[in-house]
């Protein structure tokens, strides 16, 4: 039984429809990837799942129950975390304050402390920067903070939007290592990436999005070997 199911989802902004009926599903503990070019609708898809952008039609089911049309903060509280595109960290607040806000729904202070410590284990550099103002972190550290902040909210499903965007190659590797390790912690991952090679290597299954529609689907391996994917997204 899939933990998250997206059925024929349409969404957009005002008169512009960005998603024209997208369907996919994720099993519990699975890592799936959505790949595609700029403007294909990947970010809109995640935002429509997490309730930031309203769905025009179609449905999002979480554990078989519809969460379509719920407010973003309600969806988050049900267990769907969203690490949005462009990091969106609170740049004037300290690293510590950012992480505490990530655990806003956690009322048990001790549990929150443990969750923050756990997130910092994944990105040890954050632990050394707790009192630093987040806007003064390097780009890689800011991205780590964004992911760590989302993890402090203890999501069952984590929507990850371009965690490798704009990072140095070495940091990209580190980021993908962490993302790949999250499923071992029982977190289901929906990974949106332009870095198709790395995403497909991690993903059990993947979907290719083009102009708001799914054009290809398969296991990560199948897609990585598919000539159309190789030509369009792997630069071969």
């Amino acid at each position: 039984m899939p933990i998250l199911e997206v059925n024929d989802l349409q969404a957009g902004y005002g008169p512009i429809t960005a998603l024209h009926g997208v369907s996919f599903d994720v099993e519990e503990g699975e890592l799936v990837a959505i790949i595609g070019a700029n403007g294909a609708g990947k970010t809109t898809l995640l935002m429509a799942i997490s309730g930031i952008v309203p769905a025009l039609s179609g449905a999002v089911l979480y554990r078989r129950r519809s969460i379509t049309g719920l407010a973003a903060h309600v969806i988050m509280r049900q267990g769907i975390g969203h690490c949005p595109e462009g990091r969106r960290i609170f740049s004037r607040l300290t690293v510590q304050e950012n992480l505490e806000l990530g655990g806003f729904t956690q009322r048990d202070r001790w549990q929150l402390r443990r969750d923050i410590a756990e997130a910092c284990e994944l990105f040890p550099v954050l632990g050394t920067r707790m009192t630093q103002v987040a806007g003064t972190l390097s780009g890689g550290e800011q991205q780590m903070l964004a992911v760590a902040r989302a993890l402090v909210g203890r999501p069952k499903v984590l929507l990850l939007d371009e965690p490798s965007l704009g990072l140095a190659p070495l940091v990209v590797r580190q980021m993908f290592d962490v993302v790949g390790s999250l499923t071992a912690r029982g977190i289901t991952i929906v990974l949106v990436e332009q870095n198709a090679r790395a995403a497909l290597a991690l993903a059990a299954r993947a979907w290719v999005l083009e102009a708001g529609r799914v054009t290809l689907a398969g296991t990560g391996k199948e897609l990585a070997a598919d000539p159309r994917v190789r030509a369009a997204y792997l630069g071969e």
């Binding site: 930031i52 988050m76 969106r88 990530g102 806003f104 103002v133 806007g135």
Partner: protein, 353 residues
Amino acid sequence: MGTVWGWVSDRWEVVVLAVLAVAPLVIPALGGALGGQVTTLFIYCILALGLNVMVGYTGLLHLGIAAFFGIGAYVLAILTVPTFPFQIGWLAAAAVSIAVTAGIGLALGAPTLRLRGDYLAIVTLGFGEVAKVTLRNLEQVTGGMKGLNPVPPPGAGVTVAGTDLGLAFAVDPRWFYYLTLASLAGVVWAMRRLENSRLGRAWVAVREDELAASAMGISATRVKLSAFAMSSAVAALAGCLYAASLSTTADPNAYDFNRSILVLCAVILGGLGSIPGTLLGVAILVGFDTVLAPWADSLIQQLNINPSGSSLLSFSGWRLAIFGIALVLVMRYRPEGLIPSRRLAAELHGDQR
């Protein structure tokens, strides 16, 4: 020396409070007109701390805080003046007034929450004007330009050790001095607690990035509404103290746009989102207006420098010009305010903490 200064700056509230609490015992002038002026200053401090919840913490530009100040004063007056049958006693009336004004804040906030920045500012500005005109024209209830009076002093009819508390307030301005000082201390304490509470963090998160805040499970709508309500409630408390200290609501023009702007300027001058900054901003701007300017005018009169009464030679005549220049200078050289909140300073100067 360093450690002494550290102790003081960590507990500045306690030190300032202690000094202000002792002041009337050593400065006899505080038992006279000066006491009334300082009382007014304290009331504006409370009002500014209320505005700071919206403008400073939550980042919502509010240009109509004076309306809530006025509504607080009028609701208190309606419940206490002899022309109405209620006369429920000051404390109960203040509690009702605060609750009613917070409710009005919610009622204004609910339909306007989708608006951001300039648009919200225009709505609050409009509400301020509507409220003022309504207070003026609803003569049967508000007394029109005459206002409502006499508002009895707090504790009227309550006898402690053979003295009527109300009478004590009426006779000695130091009673009001201490009442408003205690209220201000309470509000500062509450604001401190709020800054470090879940709600306070949520206000800041929504100010910084609404989308990210909602991804953290924070309901931006509820958080903004609570800021509206809190701001209005604190403004109402200031209004209750104001009406009581004047023993009248004064005429509705006392709660006009200028008043809102004065308080907003004080918050910006002192430092958005900063409690000591807000208090300093009020001390400078309102202190200038209510204490320094009248004093300088009377001095000019005494020295007979200005026998023709020309406004060019009176201190008050230059008041707005001096305000304007001071604000421009502060914004140019210290845009984060005189005592900035740590966060704003970090952004504007890129410092690390």
